[in-house]
C-alpha cells in the first residue's frame, strides 16, 4: 500500500508537469496514442521473455519518433492515428501468438496500482527524475515554441527539434507510468489535471504547480476509493479527471459572468 502511494504520487507529479505542455501544445491525441500503442511493446516483450519496461520503452520511443517524422510530411493527427493503429496491429499480432495473456492485457490497459512491489519504486523514481529534469532543461525553448512557434523559429528554436524532444519526454513518461496506472488512464491524468489548472490561472509556472497538485489529489482519491470499493483505480482516475475539468470550466464561466464582460478579456490561448 505504501509502495502504491509512493509510485502513484511520482506518476502524478510527472503527469502534471508533462501534461501541462501536452495541453499547451494541443498534443492531446499524441498523449493518448503513445501510451495506448506502447502496450503492444509489453505484449511483445512478454512473448520473447523480456522485461515489460523494455518493451514499453522500445514501443513508446519508436512510436514517438514515427509520429515526429511522419508529421513533417503530412497532417499531424493523421500521422498520430496511423502510428497508433500500426502499434496496436502489432500488439494484436503479439497477443495472437500467446494464449495466456488476456488477464494481463486488462491490468496493462487499466492499471494495477495496488499490486506495486518495492522493486517498482526505484525504476519509476529514476525515470520520473529524468522526465522532470528534461522538462526543466527544455522549459524556455519548449515554452516559446509551444506558444509562439514563429517567434521561436526566428530566434533559432527549431520547432521540429522541440516537437521531437517533447515527444521523447512523453514517451519516457509513458514508459514509467503505464505499468502503474495503465496505458489508457495515464492519458486522462495528463489531460484532466493541466486542463483544469489552466482554467484557474494564466501564469505558466503557477498552472504547472497547480496541475501537479490536482493530479496528486486525483490519484490519492482514486487509490483510496479503489482500495475501499475494490473497483478498478482507472475508473476513479478517469471520472475524477473529467469532474475536475468540469469544475474548472464552471469556475471560468462564473468568473466571466461576475467580472468584466468576456469579450474584454484578452484571449489567453
Amino acid at each position: 500500500m505504501v509502495n502504491a502511494w509512493t509510485v502513484a504520487s511520482i506518476v502524478a507529479v510527472v503527469a502534471g508537469v508533462v501534461g501541462f505542455f501536452t495541453v499547451l501544445r494541443g498534443s492531446t491525441f499524441v498523449a493518448h496514442a503513445i501510451p495506448n500503442g506502447s502496450f503492444a511493446g509489453a505484449a511483445g516483450a512478454s512473448l520473447i521473455g523480456l522485461s515489460t519496461l523494455v518493451g514499453l520503452a522500445v514501443f513508446s520511443l519508436g512510436g514517438a519518433v514515427t509520429i515526429g517524422l511522419l508529421s513533417r510530411r503530412g497532417r499531424h493527427d493523421v500521422a498520430t492515428a496511423l502510428a497508433l493503429v500500426m502499434m496496436l496491429g502489432l500488439g494484436a499480432l503479439f497477443l495472437s501468438f500467446s494464449s495466456e495473456y488476456a488477464p494481463e492485457v486488462y491490468s496493462l490497459l487499466f492499471g494495477e496500482v495496488l499490486g506495486i512491489s518495492t522493486n517498482d519504486v526505484g525504476p519509476t523514481a529514476i525515470l520520473a527524475a529524468v522526465c522532470v529534469l528534461a522538462v526543466v532543461a527544455l522549459y524556455r525553448p519548449l515554452m516559446l515554441s509551444s506558444v509562439l512557434p514563429e517567434v521561436g523559429q526566428a530566434r533559432g528554436v527549431s520547432s521540429f527539434a522541440m516537437e521531437m524532444a517533447f515527444l521523447i519526454v512523453l514517451a519516457l513518461a509513458t514508459t514509467m507510468t503505464v505499468p502503474v496506472v495503465g496505458t489508457l488512464l495515464i492519458f486522462s491524468l495528463m489531460i484532466g489535471a493541466p486542463a483544469t489548472a489552466r482554467s484557474f490561472t494564466d501564469r505558466p509556472l503557477v498552472a504547472m504547480g497547480l496541475s501537479v497538485a490536482i493530479a496528486l489529489v486525483i490519484v490519492w482519491v482514486a487509490i483510496a476509493a479503489s482500495y475501499t470499493t475494490n473497483y478498478p483505480v482507472g475508473f476513479f482516475v478517469g471520472t475524477a479527471s473529467a469532474a475536475s475539468y468540469t469544475l474548472g470550466r464552471a469556475w471560468t464561466a462564473l468568473r466571466n459572468r461576475r467580472g468584466i464582460a468576456p469579450e474584454l478579456i484578452p484571449a489567453s490561448t
Binding site: V85, A92, A102, F187, V237
Partner: protein, 306 residues
Amino acid sequence: MSPFPGSIFAPGFFASGPVHLALGVGALVAVVAGAVGVFTVMRGQSFAGEAFGDLGTTGGAGAYLVGIGPLWGFVVGNVIAAGAMEAIGIQRARGRDLATGIVLGAGIGLAALFLYLDTTQHNTTGAVVTILFGSVFAISSSTLPLILLLSAVVLAITLTLYRPLLLSSVSAEMAAARGIPVRVVGAVYLLALALAAALAAITIGTILSTALLVGPAASALRLTRRPLTALLTAAGIGVATMWLGILLAYDSYEWPPTGRGWPVSFFVVTLVFLIYLLSGVPEAARRRRPGRPRGAPRDARAMTPG
C-alpha cells in the same frame, strides 16, 4: 494441410460462409469509413474518430453488463459521447482535441468499471479481448440488418450534407459567409462520424475502425485534390486493403508459430500504413522538381479546383 502450399487462395476460401460474410461486411464498412474519413481528415478530426472507436467499447461493455446487444451499446455510447464533445466545445479548432480527450478519458474510466463488473459477474476474461479487439470472422448474421441500417444512415447523412460539409471543412469562414450553418453541419457530421465508428468498431474492431477511417482517406487526399475522386479512391483503398487482409489472415492459418492464424487487423493495418507511406511519394517527387516553390501553403493548394 493444404495440397497446394504455394497457392494464394487457400482451399475453402471461397466456400466458407464466415469468409463470405467477412468480405461483404468488411467491404461495406470500408466504403462507409472511406466516405466519412475523407471529411475526418480534411477537418482534422482523426482524434475524434479514434476516440469514438474506444468509446464504443465503453458502450459495448455496458451493454454486455445489462445483457442487450453490444452493437446497440456501441451506438448509444457513441451518440452520448458525441453530444458531450459537442457540449464541451469540439467546434472550436483550438479546444477540439481537449474536448475529445476529456470525454475519452471519462469514457475509458467507465469502460474500466464496466469491464471489471463484466469479468466479476460473468467470470470471463475473454470478453475483454473480444470487446477491445473485435474480429471480422466473428460477425453473426443476426446483426446484419442493423449493420445495413447504420451504413445507410451514415452514407445518407454524408451524401445529403456533401456540399455544405465540404465547404465548411475547407473554409469555415467562407461557408459561414454563404449562409451555411457551420456549427449545425459540424454537429451532424460528428454524429455521422460517431455512428460510422460504432459500426466499424463492432464489426471489424476498434483498431481497424481508426485505420480504415483515417488511412485510406489520408492516402487518397495526398493522391488527388478533387474531393469526389478522393472519396471514391478512399473507399477503393479501404475495400482493397480489407479484402487482402482477410485473404492473408485466412492463409495464415498454416503459418507459424501457433497455427491459429494471424489477426486480420495486423494485415490490414500494415497495408494501410504502407499505402499511406507510398501515397506521399508523388508529392515528394513533385516538390523536388524545380520551379515549384518549396513549402507552398497546403490549404491554398487544396482549395484550387484540380
